[in-house]
């Protein structure tokens, strides 16, 4: 309905976040802030061993402890379950999906595996009593390393399978064998994506309350209230219509709250069993054991290329750790990267194989980027290896191989709708002042300075906006990828947008308000965005995979278009003109060539009184749109890292970071910048700081924030951001999604910079994270 006179008031502006006043003044309610009368607290007794047979569980002492209402083993609760915790993405027909009940009964398969629960009047009493549960375990050999777990003679986690391999998934396109045979040059690289622990600022928590009518309300710190409702019905047998899920304010997730957890099912089942509300909130170190981890993949990647550096084929083999069980989308995480191991390059042959392997560790699942940071790292790091082999500048080899025309069908078979890889690279080089940076690097090398500089590039493309439902079906994901919004115009001028995505820090309320306010010509203060309650917003697929704007935003836009269309019919009727004679701009319909006009707000009042509507029109101005995207969205760009390596100590510091991203059209640049900043920090953290380490016995050796190194602002430079804009032609907003770009692009940029600094010394690669000791040891090794 856009016309030439339309002006944009909010879209594209860095509007201050409407959410923040409540958040920064402590007025917002997170799960930990909530309580209901009669509420009990649950504590979970967890296995201290990585692999052990459960011999006996004695709950007597715990049951007698102060304030304890009940205590249960897994066997005690067996009749509560209509099914196990679901895995929604068995990626092959023969994927081995183990039984996974909220408490284990036969064996503990990782440190932190739930064995029993204690329910008491307070959190502290539940915790005290949990220490009195006497669990006898018979230790079994444990395997935490993915390669060891896949090897002969490894301890088997799920004995009925006779193997630790869950599945092997293959994608082949083009004449890969011939292209490798005919290649002038090949490189063969091996990388380890270390295990990471998602560290949302708010730990997980859940509270479940029964009502006298037989209904249940579950409040959970979740990204996925709608998926949770469906899943909890499958696990507990409580009919979906009797379950209300509320996601209150949620303090971050990064994928770790995109899951169905044992504690959610336990609190609900215990609320049913005990007839009282039951609450659990994770302690931080407990969360490190009982909330999913990310990455943990061993990658082998080979490139075939011409002597000029044109890449002709890519062949990848992955061994991906699943952890002890399959959580909601565990098997699919490496597969989310399966199409991207060719990066943003024009190649012909493509081969991808991934084998998922059970290990005696906390399960792996979605962590910001989910499969795509791993893919981007592998291709970008391998392209640098190829550049070094051919003695080419890493910039030039990228330029030589870029996809330049769009839409472009990539080697793995998907279609990139739009992009500007070269434009992003050019702008990045300009911001960096590439020649000057190389000169400074050369001077330090010539002077044998103890502080060496490295410059690293990551030119990337990612697929997000998950996802076209038919593609999800084709890859055996059990749900759809659509999204829904209802717009309701109230009679006095305010507008409710009831959205199916579930924000947990991203600023949906502001971004979506901007779109609605511009579309309907109302002040942004008049738009109320409602989310996170399955009774109030029953339709939705929730928030993950950079989908909220790229999918949910389009549903929202489509709903406003329906509102405008109905309002136009009302206005035409009331002004007694033909609908075609009305012009629409900024919320106002004007009869062409006159000053007669009415606003959408006027139409909303008219729709409410219903005194004068067209024949047959239903009263009210409320519309719902459900949108299923026809394609993924394809953000891309160029990230550049400059690191300084202290060659005496190995200390490696990020000193500059430049990101030029194409995320399509930008609704709120401040919010987009915030997403990119956070994403870069997380990706740089993988390169330099974070690694979950299991010891030989299968204990998490750094299971607290003291030992698990999340960097802070003190360890990072101020990032330099810019954008190129190649609007997505796939959706009317031209948006692509931005939640994951920073994480997807940045790890490779930082590690390429580290290797760039060290290559002249003879160091060919460094495992992640590039800790001071690893860097020092690598330098020592080549010096020796």
């Amino acid at each position: 309905m856009a016309t030439a006179e339309e002006t944009v008031t909010y879209v594209g502006q860095g509007v201050a976040r409407k959410e923040d006043a409540a958040l920064v003044t402590g007025g917002a309610k997170y799960i930990d802030d909530l309580s209901v009368p009669g509420m009990l607290w649950m504590a979970v007794v967890r296995s201290p061993l990585a692999h052990a047979r459960v011999v006996s569980i004695d709950l007597d002492r715990a049951r007698e402890a102060e304030g304890v209402v009940a205590a249960f083993s897994g066997d005690d609760l067996a009749q509560e379950w209509a099914g196990g915790l679901p895995c929604a993405w068995p990626v092959t027909e023969d994927t081995k999906v183990p039984d996974h009940y909220p408490l284990t009964t036969d064996k503990a398969r990782h440190v932190g595996d739930g064995i029993a629960v204690v329910i008491a009047e307070t959190r502290a009493l539940a915790k005290d009593a949990a220490e009195l549960v006497d669990v006898e375990l018979e230790a079994l050999p444990a395997v935490t390393d993915v390669e060891a777990a896949a090897g002969d003679g490894a301890p088997i986690l799920h004995e009925s399978f006779g193997t630790n391999e869950s599945y092997t998934w293959v994608l082949e396109a083009g004449e890969v064998g011939r292209l490798f045979a005919e290649a002038d040059v090949t490189v063969s690289e091996r990388y380890r994506q270390q295990r990471l622990i998602p560290s949302a600022i708010e730990p997980r928590g859940v509270m479940a309350a029964p009502s006298p009518t037989g209904d249940f309300t579950v409040w959970s710190a979740t990204q996925v209230p709608h998926v949770l409702r469906t899943a909890l019905t499958l696990v507990t047998g409580i009919p979906e219509a009797r379950l209300r899920i509320v996601a209150p304010e949620v303090g971050g997730g990064f994928g770790s709250k995109l899951d169905i957890y044992a504690e959610e099912a336990l609190c609900l089942a215990l609320a049913r069993r005990l007839g009282r509300p039951v609450k659990w909130v994770a302690e931080r170190s407990e969360g490190y054991l009982a909330t999913i981890h990310g990455r943990d993949v061993v990658q082998e990647i080979e490139l075939a290329a011409t002597s000029e550096g044109r890449i002709t084929a890519v062949r990848t083999r992955l061994l991906a750790a699943m952890g002890a069980y399959l959580q909601l989308v565990t098997p699919g995480i490496p597969i989310l990267g399966a199409w991207l191991y060719g990066g943003c390059y024009d190649i012909q042959g493509y081969s991808f194989t991934c084998t998922g392997v059970f290990t005696n560790t906390t399960p792996i699942d979605a962590y910001r980027g989910a499969g795509r940071p791993e893919a981007t790292y592998a291709i970008e790091h391998a392209v640098d290896a190829l550049a070094r082999r051919l003695d080419k500048d890493p910039v030039e080899i990228r330029r030589l191989n870029f996809i330049k025309e769009f839409p472009a069908t990539i080697a793995s078979g998907l279609e990139i709708d739009s992009g500007d890889f070269e434009g992003a690279l050019d702008r990045g080089l300009e911001l960096l002042d590439y020649d000057q940076a190389r000169r400074e690097q050369e001077e330090r090398r010539a002077a044998s300075d103890s502080k060496q500089l490295g410059i690293g590039f990551s030119t990337y493309v990612e697929m997000c906006g998950l996802a076209p439902s038919r593609i999800l079906g084709a890859v055996r994901y059990v749900a759809g990828g659509w999204e829904a919004t209802t717009i309701r115009c109230l009679p006095t001028g305010t507008v409710q947008a009831i959205i199916g995505t579930s924000p947990h820090g991203q600023g949906h309320v502001t971004t979506f308000s901007q779109i609605v306010a511009d579309q309907l010509g109302v002040p942004i203060e008049s738009v109320e965005v409602i989310h996170g309650d399955t009774v109030v917003a029953p339709l939705g697929m929730d928030t993950y995979g950079s989908r909220s704007l790229a999918v949910g935003g389009v549903a929202l836009w489509n709903a406003t278009e329906k509102i405008i269309a109905k309002a136009q019919a009302i206005v035409a009727h009331q002004l007694e003109v033909a609908a075609e004679d009305l012009e629409y701009a900024n919320g106002t319909f004007t009869v062409r060539g006159t000053d007669r006009s009415m606003t959408v707000t006027d139409a909303a009042f008219g729709a409410w009184t219903a005194h004068n509507l067209p024949d047959g029109m239903e009263p009210g101005l409320e519309e719902t749109a459900v949108y299923d995207p026809p394609n993924f969205s394809w953000p891309g760009g160029c990230h550049i890292a400059v690191v300084e390596v202290d060659t005496d100590t190995g200390d490696t510091r990020l000193v500059r970071y430049i990101a030029v991203d194409d995320v399509g059209n930008v609704i709120n640049p401040t919010i987009v910048d915030g997403q990119v900043h956070g994403g870069i920090a997380q990706g740089a953290a993988q390169a330099l700081f974070e690694e979950a380490v299991y010891d030989d016995d299968g204990n998490l050796a750094n299971g607290s924030m003291t030992g698990y190194l999340l960097p802070s602002a003190a360890e990072l430079p101020s990032f330099e951001l810019d954008r190129v804009v190649a609007p997505s032609p796939t959706n009317p907003l031209g948006v692509k999604g931005v939640g994951e770009t920073g994480t997807i692009a940045s790890t490779a940029a930082v590690m390429n910079a580290v290797v760039d600094a060290l290559a002249p010394l003879g160091v060919s690669d460094i495992d992640m994270p590039a800790s001071p000791e690893r860097v020092w040891a690598a330098i020592e090794e080549v010096r020796a």
């Binding site: 931080r284 200390d651 700081f689 003190a714 000791e773 020092w776």
Partner: protein, 272 residues
């Protein structure tokens, strides 16, 4: 996150705190709480009674006396860092305090808490060892002074008796003749390794953080310097006789290497 149950008493005076410690077997003093409370939250420590001395403002001071500086045990790191007296008369303490943890830790944590907790990864104990500081302890029968060299007796163990409270720390006025160099991954972390170097009574004292169960004097370095070795040669002796830990921040071998590098840097800072 959730400590075991404990009783709590607020001490109005230092003597009252000593009295409470004497009456109870399993009591711990609570000052800034930034060492003890994390251990209790992880249930690594479960004292039956906490005696809160955090409000004894009489123990928060920095004064000059007879060529030494007297620091009250409850002086917070932030106040050490901002002290003009220290900046002028014993700058290494102020400079070290400025780099401890993060602003929250520095505003809550106290020098006495850091010293009595005796964590070998803490910064101030190492600096105090190099300075040959004196620790003043008050017990039921009065006060006694303990030399830093005798104070740190083991991992998280000190010479303080169960019924004693540390009231004061005395350090020599060495002006700017001190340096502390710390290596860590993140600004807020404990030292992977730290090195303090000070000039005192015509000698160079060097002490090490996180190279053993207690803060340690780098005897090899000190002897080499006394024998006329140059900085590089002396620094190479830094790890002699130490048994540093291996953990996810670094192996013992890497720590030994760091000790030499950081000793060299500390000695250069002392000369610079």
């Amino acid at each position: 996150m959730i400590p075991s149950q404990f009783d709590y008493e607020l001490a109005g005076t230092a003597d009252e705190a000593v009295g409470l410690l004497s009456q109870h077997d399993d009591a711990k003093l609570l000052a800034g709480g930034h060492s003890l409370l994390p251990l209790m939250r992880l249930r690594f420590a479960s004292p039956a009674l906490l005696v809160d001395i955090g409000r004894l403002s009489e123990l928060s001071y920095i004064k000059e006396a007879d060529g030494s500086i007297a620091i009250g045990a409850l002086t917070r790191h932030h106040d050490l860092a901002g002290s003009d007296v220290l900046r002028e008369r014993c700058a290494v303490i102020a400079e070290t305090a400025e780099g401890i943890g993060d602003p929250q830790v520095r505003h809550r944590g106290t020098i006495g808490g850091s010293v009595t907790h005796s964590d070998p990864a803490s910064d101030l104990p190492t600096v105090l060892l190099a300075l040959e500081a004196e620790m003043v302890a008050r017990g039921p029968s009065g006060e006694r002074a303990i030399a830093a060299a005798d104070f740190f007796t083991g991992f998280l163990e000190s010479a303080l008796r169960d019924n004693e409270i540390l009231t004061e720390i005395r350090v020599p006025a060495i002006g700017s003749a001190g340096a502390y160099v710390k290596f860590n991954r993140r600004a807020q972390d404990w030292a992977t390794v730290g090195v303090a170097a000070v000039r005192l009574n015509g000698a160079t004292n060097v002490a090490l953080t996180n190279m053993g169960a207690t803060p340690l004097r780098a005897a090899g370095v000190e002897e080499a310097l006394a024998a006329g070795a140059d900085t590089a040669a002396a620094s190479a002796q830094a790890a002699n006789g130490t048994s540093p830990p291996s953990d996810t921040n670094g192996s013992a071998e890497y720590r030994a290497h760091l000790a030499s590098i950081l000793t060299k840097r500390a000695l250069e800072a002392l000369d610079g």
